[in-house]
Subunit: 296 residues, 2 copies
């Protein structure tokens, strides 16, 4: 067993891809999972989602570095939905694809421990990494970091998110001149200094930084040298390969770029497998070209 960042980087090196497949199952998004095809029964919809995701995984597995199931879309399907989430996580495990569960959890003390036990320890919802929200304070991250370090898993702390309103709190200027998200980044970087690093210099403490704010993303790469960056906002949200390029270190490591809609529900014909593979390949190449352009 190797640490989470090293497992991701092994795939980056082997497959030359930095794509993270966002698994946001929108039952209305595709004919095979449309509730109308199943009389609106959430159990049938959840089963259809699992089958549909398997099709996309089998078509894209060697084009992606990791995958990011979005918990909200599973929770919205009720109990069958969370069973489907467990199944998707098992399917990822079986295929050796690192799973970042995007659940944005965060709570205090023993409650944070319960979330860490649910998602960063062995169990039906076990993921390789979890996204977490640090608004409650740095002490609330410790149970997640403890579980991640102990289990060779990862934590991605929300630092600068990809949405239009992300600046409302994250970009507020503080009394020492740094913005809120910069102060958080510096505090996380200091914490990462105390964590074991792998051969590439990365730790279990990662961060989320959106491709929709390329200047901030590039600055965060420098501020958080020991943190893998999870970069949302590529594709449907408007981020480009050039926007995302700043997330990578000089070796082309240190980040994965997520796309959900454009990969899971690709436009490109009735053959979902072929369209998803083409979309993932195009995104892989776009990111690699942008990295190449940055180098030269």
């Amino acid at each position: 067993m190797t640490a989470f960042a090293a497992r991701v980087h092994a795939r980056v090196r082997e497959l030359d891809t930095r794509v993270c497949l966002g698994i946001d199952p929108r039952p209305h998004g595709h004919p095979s999972t449309h509730p109308a095809a199943h009389d609106g029964d959430p159990a049938k919809t959840a089963l259809a989602v699992v089958a549909y995701v398997r099709t996309v995984l089998d078509a894209t597995h060697d084009r992606i570095a990791c995958a990011k199931p979005q918990s909200a879309f599973f929770e919205a399907l009720g109990v069958p939905g969370v069973i489907a989430l467990a199944q998707v996580l098992a399917d990822l495990r079986e295929r050796g694809i690192p799973a970042i569960l995007d659940a944005k959890r965060g709570d205090i003390g023993s409650t944070a421990e319960a979330y860490a036990a649910a998602y960063l320890a062995d169990g039906v919802f076990a993921a390789d990494a979890l996204t977490v929200n640090a608004y409650l304070g740095l002490d609330t991250l410790e149970p997640f970091l403890d579980a991640a370090v102990a289990g060779e898993r990862g934590v991605f702390v929300l630092v600068k998110t990809s949405n239009p309103g992300s600046g409302d709190l994250q970009d507020v200027a503080t009394d020492d001149g740094r913005r809120v998200h910069e102060r958080l980044a510096d505090a996380l970087a200091a914490r990462a200094e105390q964590l074991p690093a792998d051969a590439d210099g990365y730790t279990a403490l990662g961060a989320v930084a959106g491709a929709t704010y390329p200047a901030e993303l590039t600055a965060l790469r420098a501020r958080m040298p020991r943190s893998l960056l999870l970069v949302p906002g590529y594709g449907a949200q408007g981020g480009t390969g050039a926007d995302a390029a700043g997330a990578f270190d000089a070796a082309g490591l240190g980040a994965v770029v997520n796309a959900s809609r454009t990969l899971l529900y690709p436009t490109g014909g009735a053959d979902v497998a072929a369209a998803a593979r083409a979309a993932a390949t195009a995104m892989r190449d776009d990111l690699n070209r942008a990295l190449e352009a940055r180098r030269s």
Copy 2:
């Protein structure tokens, strides 16, 4: 149907209690739910949790204004745990006890819509209110507010949490002299101005503010006049009735004070029902005495 804050206040007036029963099922906390009693089988533990919570609800239903199941402890039990959560929510509904689901969700755009659909619309996880995290930005609250207003439900935004490290981000001084949580509070108060208020002046937009920071709590009561406050930190975390008193308006309304461990796992003998009823009664009286002392 009446709006969420009005439903809570109807119980506050009828029962003269401002207690929120925190439902944090810790299987190791009590003999009847201890995993050892069930060979560690999560399904049996989850069933035991449901039965145990029913015992406490039946013993305390007329001593509490509302209840707050903590999602993390259910999620930690896997699929049987989330089924147990659905059952506890149904048990609360059946007893007419408003349920605040403490899940601290938060995400962007259509993902926030999916969380709102899961917890603030009809379905197995339907609650009367949901705790949410606004670090991602004010735009990310809108799907929750839309669902809450449409369904006469409530949203509690984390503003100043009860944990020791809550100041790390929340108390950072910003360039205009206000601290981060104060800026958030002011922005939320402005948003609440645009929402429909009930006869007491309260809206669907509530806030979380801990009893462990009484000065901040009192200040937030004044800053957010249209927001019901959910006050954690009483009891095991060290907050007293006097600490919590500042959360209430002049009429003794506008807040509910949560305790979990001291009510759900009371010390006081083998008769759980009697001990829980005594603990809830004592907390009710403690809060009412503190309010009385403030008035005089």
